[in-house]
Assembly symmetry: C2
Homo-oligomer: 170 residues x 2
């Protein structure tokens, strides 16, 4: 599987899906007459990230997996409090960054070693980094963001999670 | 990225991780003095799967992604109610099934088209199926199972989620 497809193409689609869940959450808040800023600090356990931090972490995971496996620098985005609009703007910024990559950026990634900031002196081969660390970490935060919205009563389902598929006729 | 690594190797590791979270959940129940069968029907939203169904769905996703992308048949496992011990036995069965695959089973998978049972007449190329459908679906149920345990007070963290990594020295 080409690393470009596994990272840039797929993560961009999932970030677009995430944005659509937030749109649904805004409609839910309006229909029920509550302030959508309530979502920001919602969480599933007191020692887990809030919705805001889950979205920020999913955005970071997406930009870092593309940047690190292609050997580029990722732009810095500040964490901390954020309105729902600011979260959507961050998703858009990361999608713009992903759009700057081409399949050619991943040529030679087979031999690239990615440094792990949380394990000084250690790294992983790019392919192992994507499969074992980056994709599971991305989905960890993405699914938590989804689950927090579902827990808050937003009506979503498997199709808005998965999104569009490249189908062929049998 | 070899499809074998992306499916069999990675999903087997994540199922082993899932089993370790259940072990942690059993210890939590014992320490707090409640019946661990309480986990079975726990869920994050009334219209989401219970913990039992999330684990069963993650197991199914893992066996189907390997079987379908290698062009093999997957064993059938009955759903419905299950004790925590039965869920652990199912995880072990799927891991045994995954252990029957070798990288050679995935030769020629580039040209294989996988039929989608929920979309009659439609299929996907094996690589697109793995990236766009099977891995996101697996992580969807796996992370929900994890999040339900966290919501129930089980102490887990990012490291038990990610599991072991193939590290290299920088």
């Amino acid at each position: 599987m080409p690393l470009y497809d596994a990272t840039v193409t797929q993560l961009d689609k999932m970030l677009a899906n995430l944005d659509s869940w937030i749109e649904e959450a805004l409609a839910h808040a309006e229909a029920r007459g509550f302030d959508p800023s309530c979502y920001a600090t919602y969480r599933l356990a007191p020692d887990q990230y809030t919705f805001t931090r889950q979205v920020q972490a999913a955005c970071d995971a997406a930009k870092f997996v593309a940047a690190r496996s292609a050997g580029k620098d990722a732009p810095k985005h500040e964490d901390g409090d954020a309105t729902v609009e600011e979260l959507r703007a961050r998703i858009a910024l990361v999608r713009e960054f992903l759009a700057t990559f081409t399949p050619a950026d991943f040529e030679g990634a087979d031999d690239r070693v990615v440094a792990l900031p949380f394990l000084p002196g250690k790294g992983m081969k790019a392919e192992a980094y994507v499969l074992q660390m980056a994709l599971p970490n991305f989905y960890f935060h993405l699914v938590h963001a989804y689950a927090i919205l579902r827990h808050a009563g937003v009506k979503l389902g498997k199709m808005p999670f998965i999104g569009g598929l490249d189908l062929v006729e049998l």
